[in-house]
């Protein structure tokens, strides 16, 4: 990166939180710290919800996902618009009416304290780990590619977020997320424009779409009923619906975003904004990845995008083997480029057949390269596709824009982490600390406690990030973690809303059994992870009335 890139990077990354700190100075009540003030309007809530969900993984890994496997990942979002409508119609009015600070407070009011704490505990475990991944995921890639020290990158990114989240609470999180999301959207639009512009001498945008389609990168919708396929319309619409319903309805990091501002109208409009823009936004990010794939059909790509792992293998003595593979890759690339130019000039099925055959050879060389790396102990530590977009940014974008795009990744990291820490601190104070305290304390006491817990969770997240070693694609890691825990949490809320006769003990034990069942399935079967949401939720909804009828019916009613 050049000096101008570093200037753009630091100016963007620092200016937004500093402005936020200045805007939110001098507020001290617990309500203000946890729920923000009335100046937060629906546009800010909408962007804040969008930024909380997206995170760095969306912008760093998703183009690589499309580069490798096509844009089918879009189907994971098909359940989201419907889930957001349910949240708007059912969840938001209840939270606003009861004026709760956290979603789990509602469980305490509807059931009992132990159910409130169970919901909060499941959330804290899941979100605490996920916050670590949110910091680790971009840090491992940026440090590897830019030569930054991994632990220093983690500490700087995490440390800065801790400072401004602790000081400003919910208002600063929402405010900074608005501007960070604007930078992110602008940066991604610039990247999309550059890749289309860079393609133009070789191939038109229309032809690029045709070629990407023929090479299986543009299958957005797949109606296959096979439950073992990760991305289908059905797993996205059904599993994705439950994932999104749990996430938006029962994950405090989102609930806190749309309850900010204290207005029912703003909360609903912010969520409806997300239900309209989410699928198109993800589509364009994935399409960007597919276009980068086409770009690298005309510009020679690296044999292996994870350059640091590749260089480690050379140091371990795999140089000659890798050199042979690189030569082979170069030859296939030249043949493929000629075939593609011929296809662009005069499209024919024969040309496309030879392009497909050459692409299969390219994939074979990449697979062989990965095997050589593994055999030589050059542990890649994360999936190669995660390095595609950052490689494109650093090598193909003009000076200044590189800094902007690295800022996009850091802004996304900061906004998602800030929302997580804000929610973790609030939940610990409201659902664990306050119920366990025997004496009444002042608002100031709880604000100080919320700040301390937020800082403590920040340190936990940095700790998780420092020891994390991902085995799956970065996008998958976050979603799998969510899917394993969310089902039971959502089940608690659905029973609370719709099955009036069930009381605290029945739903508490139903959630524990459901969570154990999901863990067993996760470790013993290979079903698509999105289904765990539906299974966990379904188990709670079915088991709770059964337990209530068979075991807990004789118990006297507890005071809520």
């Amino acid at each position: 990166m050049s000096r101008i890139d570093y200037l753009v990077l630091f100016a963007t990354v620092l200016a937004i939180p500093l402005y936020g700190l200045w805007r939110t100075r001098g507020h001290e009540s617990l309500g203000h710290y946890l729920k923000g003030d009335k100046t937060i309007r629906w546009g800010t809530i909408g962007l804040s919800v969008l930024a909380t969900q997206a995170g760095p993984i969306t912008f760093l890994s998703m183009p690589g996902q499309a580069y490798e496997s096509g844009i089918g990942f879009i189907q994971n979002y098909f359940g989201q618009p419907l889930a957001l409508l349910v949240v708007c119609a059912v969840f938001v009015p209840i939270y606003q009416k009861l004026k709760v600070f956290t979603a789990y407070q509602y469980l305490g009011q509807r059931f009992d304290r132990k159910t409130q704490m169970l919901g909060a505990f499941l959330f804290l475990v899941q979100r605490g780990l996920a916050a670590g991944i949110t910091i680790y995921a971009p840090a491992i890639i940026l440090s590897a590619i830019l030569g930054w020290q991994l632990n220093l990158t983690i500490c700087l990114a995490g440390g800065f977020v801790i400072i401004y989240t602790v000081v400003g609470g919910t208002t600063i999180v929402s405010l900074t997320q608005r501007y960070q999301m604007m930078v992110i959207l602008a940066g991604m639009a610039v990247a999309f424009g550059v890749v289309i512009y860079r393609l133009s001498p070789d191939i038109s945008f229309g032809h690029a779409l045709v070629v990407a389609g023929k090479l299986d990168k543009l299958q957005a919708v797949d109606f296959s009923p096979d439950p073992h396929k990760r991305y289908t319309f059905w797993s996205g619409a059904i599993g994705g619906f439950f994932l999104a319903l749990s996430y938006f309805g029962a994950d405090q990091s989102q609930v806190q975003r749309y309850l900010a501002g204290n207005s029912l109208r703003s909360s609903r409009l912010g969520l409806l904004f997300n239900s309209v823009v989410k699928v198109p936004m993800q589509f364009f990010i994935l399409l960007l990845g597919a276009m980068i794939f086409i770009f690298y059909q005309f510009e020679k790509p690296p044999v292996f995008f994870n350059r640091p792992a590749y260089e480690r293998a050379i140091e371990h003595g795999a140089g000659p083997q890798l050199k042979d593979l690189a030569t082979k890759a170069d030859q296939v690339f030249e043949q493929k480029r000629e075939a593609l130019s011929a296809y662009a000039a005069a499209p024919s099925p024969e040309n496309m057949q030879s392009i497909r055959a050459l692409e299969a050879q390219t994939q074979a060389v990449r697979t062989e390269t990965k095997q050589v790396l593994n055999q030589n102990g050059a542990d890649p530590r994360s999936k190669e596709s995660d390095y595609v977009f950052i490689t494109f940014i650093l090598h193909e974008l003009p000076r200044g824009v590189v800094g902007l795009l690295v800022a996009v990744i850091l802004c996304a990291t900061m906004s998602a982490t800030a929302a997580a820490l804000n929610a973790l601190g609030s939940t610990t104070v409201v659902d664990i600390y306050r119920p366990l305290r025997s004496s009444i304390a002042s608002d100031h006491h709880y604000v100080v406690a919320a700040r301390l817990f937020t800082a403590a969770w920040g340190l936990v997240a940095i700790g998780v990030a420092s020891f994390a070693n991902l085995v799956e694609n970065l996008i998958e890691a976050g979603n799998i973690l969510g899917s394993v825990f969310y089902g039971s949490i959502l089940g608690l809320f659905l029973v609370a809303f719709f099955i009036r006769k069930v009381r605290g003990s029945a739903v508490f034990f139903a959630a524990l059994i459901a969570q154990a069942m999901v863990f067993i399935l996760f470790f013993t079967t290979g079903i698509g992870y999105l289904w765990y949401n539906a299974i966990g939720c379904g188990a709670v909804v079915i088991l709770a009335p059964v337990l209530e009828r068979l075991i807990f019916r004789a118990e006297p009613m507890e005071a809520a």
Binding site: I74, P81, L84, L85, C88, G213, V221, D222, L264, V279
Partner: protein
């Protein structure tokens, strides 16, 4: 405050129902366009 919210909810319900209908229609259109995109480019 919560009584006021109840009243507000009841008064505004028809408007919100229309908004939800619009979002559902938009979502159906998105799926249709993505399906057509898949058919055209696969």
């Amino acid at each position: 405050m919560s009584e006021r919210l109840e009243e507000q909810l009841q008064d505004e319900e028809p408007r919100w129902s229309r908004a939800y209908g619009f979002v559902l229609a938009f979502f159906a259109l998105e799926i249709l366009l993505l399906y057509l995109f898949t058919v055209r480019f696969s």
